[in-house]
Each structure stands twice: as structure tokens, then as C-alpha cells.
Symmetry: C2
Subunit: 290 residues, 2 copies
């Protein structure tokens, strides 16, 4: 496995790979790898010849009061882990390499960021779409893969790729979870033992909402209140948002229509640590039930 | 020569060309080809193996009250002209092909558009950078070439390419002029005979300003007034702007420093037709003159 640290090296490398006719798969990460990342590599491996993982904590996607400085950087152990799952190259540029020379360009997707995480984190998704465009331009993958834990991100990137006619296929992988259901995240390491215990309620609350919906509940307010109470009862968790939104437009639903789908997404803070999770639920049709 | 009308066809084609190791040159145009466009083809030919010209009147870069509907579309004669100079492929998609499915993504460069044409045409350069990013993603050129007649456009595109790490070299070609000095433009055809006669003053006024500067004038106000009077005396031309700006940041200069350069750019309306021109002037150093 080889580490690539500059854009010029990367351009040379991928040009040679592409000239040889081999297919490139990209697994973009911010490092601090966990099993979720490794399963992204497993998923893409069957479809490509060369796997490039990028490890870059992207300052553009962090707000001024967010955890950019605190975000875990564990390159040495990331490199070891990546090697065990057969990553061929790691692209791990410095910030000064990625954003040399007073960068003034942003890739901006309208509307889709005006929901869920985008409301709590203004500018976040502009940072994501800008860095993903750069990574695609630098590494020229045939396929890039993203986790569904940040479903809004996956949806926005798909839209951006189509809108800008980027010649890359986007795959997504269902959220990988700990044994108790907590969505894997590099930020889980920040949790105190007590909060780690409580954090399992995120996924449980989504399943609780699913149960409400599949057993007939259609009142959006009651479902949101149900999730909220489920999560916050008996602990100090602070709800950032709970959204029941359209799976394509991410707009708040005003009703739950039988036979349609709803994306339930939430963000919750435990102390300084903000976690997200989501679940897409197909709303059952009870046409034969009176 | 072959016409390519869809993004999917273009992706297939350029993938094959690139796999063969041949270099692709892109000449982006809005059609209504004139000698300036053909000289862009001549200029790029020595450096590439395959020349692709794009012909696309890009609605995103026209404001609501601008001349999108009126802009000349002359595909048949464009195809003939392009063939005479050895263009290999013309990419000429419909608007519905380029912007299918409610496009929400824009490539936005900060600051540089807040000067010159960008002030008169809000959103114009966002439309330009978005379509050029798309064209580069679709046609994957090794080199793309732009005319210096729209110097602000050339500067913004260079910045965007660097910022987004697009793997393409940008060439620019000095403005090509009619015998009397008028910068070639597809919009020149809109001019009445009288206005066509007056329009020659654009380039003359730039040279008049150059003469002022190289003979020692350093008063920005006097230079702007000189240009203004030169152009508008005895006709109905309406000045949109006259800018003496930094050649890199495009910011208005507050003084003319010996040994530095100044970009003089202007836009002038003759009736409904708005023409632009510019000249970069190296300010002489008169250190031995008292």
C-alpha cells in the first residue's frame, strides 16, 4: 500500500491506472477508521481493480464552533487497518495541499441542504460537496462509495454528481452498527461511558417510531414526541433535530401517506458530542383493514 | 467530423480516446463562430491529438433581461466552419440534455465576479463556471482554450480549475480583431451599420488610454474620463463600465504604480447590444526622468 500526499502525484498515479484500463474505486473518509469504513472497502472491492481511500479532515465542512480541532486524527493506525482490507492507495494530503492559494471556489447544491443537518450546520454541505468534487477530480474514480449514516450527505452528493455530469457512479452502504445498534462513528469515541450507554437510544428510538408507523400511527407530532421522549427520558441528551422528511427532496412531510416512504433522521447531543442516525421506513398500506 | 448530442455518448467517446492515450483539446463556444473561435482551434491543435468543440448557448449565464433568446444560433454553418479548421467532434447538446432534472448545483467563485462584468450581470459568472465545470467533466480535455476578450472569464476559470483541482490545463488566446480593431464577437452581427462604425472606438479608446499611461498620466479619474469621452462623443453609445483593475484580483486600482500592470476593461452598449473589450498595460518606469 502506498501513501499519496500531493495532488500532482495523485493526478499522475490515476492517469497511469486509467490508461491501463483498470477501474478505480474511491472510499472517501476523514480517517479515525472504524468497521463501517472497512465495510465500505469490502463493498466496493468486487467492482473495481484499484481501491483508493482518502483520509482528509476537511476544514470547509466544519463550522467555527464545531469539532474540527478535536476531530480524531489517527493516521498510523488508519494505515494499518486500511492495509488489512486491501486498500491500494491512501490519499492523505495536508490542508495546505488541498486548499493552497486562497481558495475561492465552492460547489453549492441548493435546497437539499436546507433541511436536517444543514439547518444546524450552516455551510456544512457546501464544504462537503466542494471537497468531494475535488477528491473526484483528483482521484478520478469510476465508483465512489458513501455510508448511509449521513443519508442527507449521500443524497446531496448524488444530486451534485448528476448536476455536474461527473463521470462517476455513487454507491451507498447501509449504516454499520455496533452490536447494541449504535451507528458506527468516529465521534463515538468522544462519549463518556454513561453517554455511550444512553446513545443506543438513537437507533432504538428510530425503531420505536417504525413500530408506531407500521402499527398504524400517522400523526407526525405524536411520532416526533414519541422519539423525543424515548431519547431524553432519564438523561441529559439534547435533541438537535428530529425530522420526518421526503426521501428525495428532504422536505418535511406534512402527512404520512400509505405506500410512500419516510426518512426519519435525527441528531442528538451528548455533552459536546453530536451524533446522527436515520432510518427509512416504508409506510404500509392497510387497504383491507377496516 | 462527428456531432455528439448527449452526455452519455460524450462520456463513452472521451473514455475511448483517453484509453488510447491520445490528448484531448476542448474549445468551448456558444456557436455563431467567427475567426476568433477558429484561431482558438488553430492554437490548440499543435498540443493535442483530438479537438472537441462544444457549441452550447448556456441559459445559466444569461440574466432574465439579457439576450439569451436573441443570441445567434447558426449550427449548420458552425459545423461547416469547424470542419474547415479540423475540429474532430462537436458537442452540441440541447438545454434539456445539459440541465436535465431540475439542476440545483452551482460552481461559485467568490470575489472575482464582484467586479467589471460581474457587477452588471449578477449570476453570470456562476453560470459560466458551472457550465465550464460540466463541460470539463463531460469531455475530460487535457487542455481547454479560452479567448482573452473576456479576460475576467478567463481569470475566473483559471481560479476555479485550480481550486477544484480539475486535471486540465487552461490556455488563453489574445483577442482576435477585425481589420479596424473591433474585437471579434458573435454579438457584432447585431450592430447597425452606424453602430458598427462607432464600435471601433472601444479598442481605440483602450489604445488612447494606453498612450496616456505610457506618456506619464497616472490620474485614474482623468484616464477614465478620457476613455468615456473618446467613446461617447458624437454618438449614442452608453457606457456600462470602465474599470482599471488589478490583473489578478480584478479589484479597482487606487493608483497606477510604475512597473506594475493594469487591466483596463470596459463594456459599452450600442442600443440593445452590449460589447466588451480590454487591454492589459504595463506601466512604464521612468526612474531616470526628472
Amino acid at each position: 500500500m502506498e501513501l499519496i500526499r500531493t495532488i500532482a502525484e495523485a493526478h499522475d498515479l490515476v492517469e497511469k491506472i486509467r490508461l491501463s484500463g483498470r477501474l478505480i474505486g474511491l472510499v472517501p473518509t476523514m480517517g479515525a477508521l472504524h468497521r463501517g469504513h472497512l465495510l465500505l472497502v469490502d463493498e466496493i472491492r468486487d467492482h473495481v481493480d484499484v481501491i483508493i481511500m482518502s483520509i482528509f479532515v476537511n476544514p470547509l465542512q466544519f463550522g467555527p464552533n464545531e469539532d474540527f480541532d478535536r476531530y480524531p486524527r489517527t493516521l498510523d493506525s488508519d494505515v494499518e487497518l486500511a492495509e488489512t482490507v486491501g486498500v491500494d492507495y491512501i490519499f492523505c494530503p495536508d490542508v495546505s495541499e488541498m486548499y493552497a492559494g486562497n481558495v475561492k471556489t465552492r460547489v453549492v447544491v441548493a435546497d437539499l441542504p436546507n433541511h436536517l443537518c444543514g439547518l444546524s450546520r450552516p455551510g456544512h454541505f457546501d464544504g462537503v460537496t466542494t471537497v468531494v468534487t475535488k477528491l473526484i477530480n483528483i482521484l478520478k474514480p469510476h465508483i465512489a462509495i458513501f455510508g448511509q449514516k449521513d443519508m442527507q450527505q449521500a443524497i446531496i452528493i448524488q444530486k451534485m454528481v448528476k448536476d455536474l455530469s461527473l463521470d462517476v457512479k455513487i454507491m451507498t452502504l447501509p449504516t454499520v452498527r455496533e452490536v447494541d445498534g449504535l451507528a458506527m462513528s468516529s465521534r463515538n469515541n468522544f462519549l463518556s461511558e454513561a453517554d455511550r450507554h444512553e446513545a443506543v437510544k438513537l437507533f432504538q428510538s428510530l425503531n420505536f417510531a417504525k413500530q408506531m408507523i407500521v402499527t398504524g400511527e400517522r400523526d407526525l407530532f405524536l411520532i416526533v414526541e414519541g422519539i423525543k421522549n424515548f431519547i431524553t427520558t432519564g438523561n441529559s441528551a439534547e435533541i438537535d433535530y428530529i425530522g420526518l422528511v421526503d426521501t428525495e427532496t428532504l422536505e418535511d412531510l406534512t402527512e404520512l401517506k400509505d405506500g410512500s416512504s419516510v426518512l426519519i433522521a435525527l441528531a442528538v447531543k451528548f455533552g459536546k458530542t453530536r451524533l446522527i442516525d436515520n432510518l427509512t421506513i416504508k409506510i404500509p398500506v392497510f387497504e383491507h383493514v377496516v
